[in-house]
């Protein structure tokens, strides 16, 4: 269970350009389910995902991941949790240019100091899941949009995370690729991975993969709960 309790996030506090991105949000997200955060841009979806994914700390309020309070942990502990628990898929594919697809997939595991050969084998396996093993040595610039998206997903899976966080994953994909992406998500879900998506793309929130759709606006949750 991921529980968000009374969380607010204020940027530039005390300055004239103070901006409240989240306002006293409370939310419970059970594990092994797929949740979609839905809302227009600027509604606070991304900020909430960042807080849940241990990328930033809330200004007030608490967040628990599996009963562990993560709000007051120092950065190095947050990173540890982030690395081992979460896999991220971003709006842009956010791959590092100039190096091979394989290396890109391996990058999240570098700080663990895992043996190179093991790590490489696992990365190849993840790429293989998406039929990309032939493209492993290719540089990112040479990949097509769909391939790049799949490499990014492979990267999110390299540490075998329990939770996948995807922020507007289909924003830069055409409908075919978006459907293909949802297919992959479905597959992951069937393996028991918890998935949290933020999107305002109907292909995502109307998909039957989503167990739960939370609607957000202006930094508040306006509608949420189990899909009927």
């Amino acid at each position: 269970m991921i529980s968000v309790r009374d969380v607010s996030k204020i940027f530039n506090a005390g300055h004239p350009n103070e901006f409240t991105a989240l306002h006293r949000v409370s939310l419970n997200l059970p594990l092994h389910e797929t949740t979609v955060l839905k809302g227009p841009s600027g509604s606070g979806k991304t900020t909430l995902l960042g807080l849940i994914g241990c990328m930033a700390r809330p200004t007030t309020g608490r967040i628990f991941v599996n009963e562990l309070e993560i709000t007051s942990l120092p950065e190095r502990f947050l990173t540890e949790i982030r690395r081992s628990t979460f896999g991220f898929i971003f709006q842009q594919v956010n791959l590092i240019k100039g190096i091979s697809a394989l290396e890109n997939v391996m990058i999240p595991a570098y700080p663990t100091g895992e043996k190179h050969s093991l790590l490489r084998a696992r990365a190849m396996e993840k790429l293989g899941m998406f039929n990309l093993d032939m493209r492993a040595a290719a540089r990112i610039e040479c990949l097509s949009g769909g391939e790049a998206q799949r490499v990014a997903i492979a990267r999110a899976l390299i540490n075998n995370p329990a939770i996948i966080i995807a922020d507007e994953p289909t924003a830069h994909l055409d409908s075919t690729l978006s459907r293909e992406f949802m297919g992959i998500i479905k597959e992951l879900k069937s393996e028991g991975v918890t998935i949290i998506l933020a999107s305002h793309d109907p292909i995502v929130y109307d998909s039957d993969v989503a167990d739960r759709v939370v609607e957000m606006r202006d930094g508040k949750v306006i509608k949420g709960g189990k899909r009927p």
Binding site: S72, P74, R76
Partner: protein, 331 residues
């Protein structure tokens, strides 16, 4: 001042190190004043990030300080013949009254920086920054010593004037014979030997005890400190004599020279690390009750104690080996 490359290098380095330390100390003060772990404010976030900067600076500082300690001795040794009557580094250091204080401060700052890193290591393992205050107070203690070292070293270098013939007519300098004593007053050999063996044995025993059943923390710390001083005294009193095979050359510096197989480097390195580790164990003790460090500190202490014992034992074995192979016979 002597425009010697070694002196310039030391000069530039200590200047840079001082600047970095001032910078770190300023941030340290801010951390001490504004730290609030419970807050999620941006200021707190910035402060937490600064802790990375400061530990990076201190880590580099320690590395540079160690090399500069040896470079200082090496340079002092290499320019000794510029001074009438100076036979080795000892002579150069006594040319003016700032030589030894510089060396002393270098050793002191090295030890404090080492202790800081041990504290930092423990702190980084607690999830709520348990030692943050102690750590930055120690940094504020370290900073004045670093600055003092730079200033004293400046005075020392500026106070060096070589005795060369071009600056005057002929032998004027030689005649004035300032008579730099090349020898240090040394403790008589037998008491020094007894003192050395007793303190080494006691320290290693205390270290083993701590390693095995976690008892006697302060004892180990105190003994490490004492052993450090005793070892330096012994170095002057008798160890160096065996290494030089010369019953009257009480010099703690010449042993880093090539003629003696650079044996001084491992010796001083082991002694310094043993001392820092031993003292670090004691430094951590008051924080043992912090909740987030309950299990971490004893583990670190055990590790440190073990490493300290290894360092001291290695030190002693090198010393004993040197004494055994030495051709010098003393009572």
């Amino acid at each position: 001042m002597i425009l010697n490359p070694g002196i310039l290098a030391l000069f530039i380095t200590s200047l840079l190190i001082s600047l970095m330390t001032i910078y770190a100390a300023c941030h340290g003060i801010q951390i001490l004043r504004r730290w609030d772990i419970a807050s999620g404010s941006e200021l707190q976030l910035i402060l937490e990030r600064r802790t990375y900067l400061i530990s990076t600076i201190v880590t580099y500082f320690l590395a540079f300080q160690l090399v500069s300690l040896f470079l200082f001795i090496q340079t002092a040794d290499s320019i000794c013949h510029l001074f009438v009557g100076a036979m080795c580094a000892v002579g150069t250091l006594t040319v003016n009254s700032f030589g030894y204080p510089t060396l002393l401060l270098k050793v002191l700052t090295f030890i404090i920086a080492g202790l800081w890193l041990i504290l930092n290591y423990a702190d980084n393992r607690g999830y709520d920054y348990p030692l943050i205050r102690a750590k930055y107070l120690l940094l504020l203690i370290l900073a004045p010593f670093v600055l003092a070292e730079t200033v004293v070293q400046c005075f020392y270098f500026f106070g060096l004037t070589p005795d060369i013939i071009t600056s005057c007519c002929g032998t004027l300098y030689s005649q004035s014979a300032r008579g730099i004593a090349s020898e240090i007053l040394a403790l008589p050999v037998i008491p020094a030997k007894i003192l050395f063996s007793v303190s080494m044995l006691a320290t290693c025993a205390a270290g083993m005890r701590l390693f095995l059943n976690g008892k006697g923390v302060y004892r180990l710390a105190a003994l490490s400190g004492i052993t450090f001083v005793v070892s330096i005294i012994s170095m002057i009193s008798f160890i160096s004599l065996y290494i030089y095979e010369m019953p009257s050359h009480h010099c703690p510096f010449c042993i880093v020279q090539k003629e003696y197989g650079y044996v001084g480097y491992p010796l001083y390195l082991l002694l310094l690390s043993g001392t820092v580790l031993g003292l670090g164990v004691g430094l951590l003790q008051p924080f043992r009750n912090k909740k987030s460090l309950e299990h971490i500190i004893p583990a670190i202490q055990q590790k440190c104690a073990g490493a300290a014992v290894v360092a001291f034992v290695l030190f002693t074995s090198i010393v004993s080996w040197q004494i055994l192979v030495s051709s010098l016979k003393m009572l």
